[in-house]
Symmetry: C2
Subunit: 414 residues, 2 copies
């Protein structure tokens, strides 16, 4: 079954705002065996919208329209669907009463404009929207003699997504052939992209019935495996078999077999060992701490950290001897090690981490170029460091260095 | 002039990847007076792509196709445009030679598949792509008797964007009526969204010739004003006049008159005063430091910070007396002030900042609910704190608290 998602709203045709609901809907549609073949963004112009609806119905079986259900003059989705399919709109009395009741609860007068939210397409079912005033609509109809399913969904994500889950998915399931979906997400850190491709493509391309998607970010690769079968056990078996082969190929680059983030894995290992962590970072400016503390419950294993930009603070907070900085420079493996060791002792943590480098855009030299980073991990037994040179702008170097830091901690804890 | 952007690639029809090139192109197109009326994402299926191209040419004047110019079997944009417009493709000898030279430089054998990147649409000009192997194409043609401009652009952002700037913008300028664009971005912090709307809408709606876009994030509002006229001075005058009225209405919520970020403004004020800053954060987990250090050159004014999750580290790194924590609790204005003051003294900074709160998802009580945050700013004269309760999940509370912290520093420095 092929579907199209049309996001309605002129604001999504500016340089600053993107439709994101379609990503959510795509995931949910894929899970019930529906492919998204087209995504379209169209502004709040009736003629454009009518045309886009007709185009979509001419090329797909299921059309989800997101947005344009509100009370303003710019909200035209109901009217446009009616025009595209030559249907009438009737004003639903129950819905009108609900709108009045809603206004009364909030003690606000109701503009007459609001009532258009009670307009229902001929033959459509209203889909209750507990999070907003505009209900969704479900229309099982024909276009050019073919059966079409048309879904009208409110635009705000907090309304669109719960309504889609509660009202549309069960209706789609009832109409579509039964499919069972198995899914797995593997993640690997710091493997070069070209190497990952060379390792993995020969494996996953032999599994034509498993859809494999690879996403690469700074030092992070995420593989998502998706298999849809009429039988749940078959789907699960195929995904697990492929996952097993990919995991083997990824060796110790693999850090997650079921979608966990690198910071979650680091915290998981720390928890297992009942160990604690403290961080002294310079060039990453707090990003290491920030990623770790983004995980709920991180306070059990993460004691804290210091962001030591100035040389003085490296001494004040992580006991780095000023002579060491004078001798080797702030960006050196010696200082990274001293940061890791110093913060560990100062914080009373099991493990200490030190990061120092040059994020740019200035400050590089021939010997110490922009992107050079030294990272060290320390415990009571030993302190080890690595040196890396990352490419890209300041943000990119922050991201790569943070990822490398977390991966180094993971490898040490494993 | 109306345009459509078609992003080509099945990966953008998954739940994980979004087209972002179109945002860049939209900004650049708007600047030369071209509206984006539709955005479409289509997968690597020739039939779908041919249909989408015909639909686009039927409803807009300018069509930008992004992606599908590579050497693989999935790269079908050239072929699809040829089919949609019944044009032939010819293999360009110079381009073939360039591909061979490129392969030779990299000392890799060239698969014959690669040569399709030298295929040129009948009547099209090749657009050099210094950052990749597939050149772009520019086609000034007719479709159903109307003049149409068709742009073929490579998909990787690092190729698409420079090629669009260098090759397409000048060609479009030469063809389109001369328009001059004036633009301004105003930003305001911590103003409630509904209040911003009530204050601003009555003003900007009276400027029909200035396009005003409002983006709201956690505690941040960004207003972009755009005016396109045949005369540059007229456009500038209208934008500046509207900006002046909006700035007045925003009073001291306004922090930026030309698009600067809040962290840039804080660093700007610190630089003016030759002052330095140090931060002790608990519930924001490093996000305050991270935002500040994302600005190039921040090391001149930002000495560093500490992320003090545990009570012990609040004492070790920011001199917070353990008795104070025992008496008032870690989340209290007293501890926020002690953090601000302590970090200032420890770091030897002009200003110290302390943040403590409950980001959730657990740890809230009736008296101290999730979202409660105390923030303090300290200098040699005084230490002041505010209390806020933010709503949303952990990430959202991190973001709001960080924004509030930076805004508090801005107000203190102003």
């Amino acid at each position: 079954m092929k579907s199209e998602i049309i996001a309605v709203g002129s604001e999504m045709l500016t340089p600053w705002r993107q439709d994101t609901n379609s990503l959510y809907l795509t995931e949910k549609l894929n899970e019930i065996g529906v492919t998204v073949a087209f995504k379209t963004v169209v502004g709040d112009r009736r003629k454009d919208l009518v045309g886009a609806i007709r185009t979509a119905l001419g090329r797909t079986d299921i059309l989800a329209l997101i947005g344009g259900l509100g009370p303003t003059e710019d909200d035209l989705t109901r009217e446009a669907v009616a025009e595209a399919l030559s249907l009438t709109l009737r004003r639903d009395a129950t819905q009108v009463a609900a709108l009045h009741a809603r206004a009364a609860t909030w003690r606000i007068p109701m503009p007459s404009n609001n009532l258009k939210q009670a307009d229902v397409l001929e033959g459509a079912a209203l889909l209750p929207n507990p999070n907003g005033s505009a209900p969704g609509q479900w229309l099982d109809t024909k276009f050019a003699a073919y059966r079409k399913l048309i879904l009208l969904l409110p635009g705000p994500p907090g309304e669109c997504r719960p309504l889609f889950d509660a009202e549309c998915i069960p209706r789609l399931r009832a109409v579509l052939p039964v499919r069972s979906i198995a899914r797995r997400t593997l993640r690997a850190a710091m493997i070069p992209e070209s190497q990952a491709d060379k390792l993995l493509a020969p494996i996953y391309t032999t599994y034509a019935d498993v859809e494999t998607t690879i996403l690469a970010n700074a030092g992070d690769i995420q593989l998502t495996l998706l298999c849809s079968k009429s039988n749940a056990a078959d789907a699960r078996q195929r995904v697990d078999e492929l996952a097993g082969r990919l995991e083997e190929a990824l060796e110790d680059w693999l850090y997650s077999s079921d979608g966990e983030t690198l910071e979650q894995i680091v915290l998981y290992y720390l928890g297992l060992r009942q160990a604690t962590l403290a961080v002294a970072e310079s060039c990453t400016g707090g990003m290491v701490s920030e990623r770790i503390t983004s995980v709920p419950g991180s306070s059990r294993s993460f004691l804290g950290g210091v962001v030591v930009y100035s040389n003085e603070l490296k001494t004040v907070f992580a006991n780095v001897p000023p002579e060491l900085i004078a001798q080797y420079g702030a960006v050196s493996s010696e200082v990274a090690k001293a940061l890791a060791n110093g913060i560990r002792l100062r914080a009373g943590a099991t493990f200490g981490v030190g990061v120092t480098g040059i994020a740019g855009p200035t400050g590089g030299t021939e010997l110490k170029p922009i992107g050079l980073v030294h990272i060290a991990v320390s415990d009571a037994q030993k302190t080890e460091s690595v040196e890396r040179i990352f490419r890209g702008d300041r943000t990119r170097i922050h991201q790569w260095a943070t990822q490398q830091t977390l991966d180094l901690v993971r490898r040490r804890l494993r």
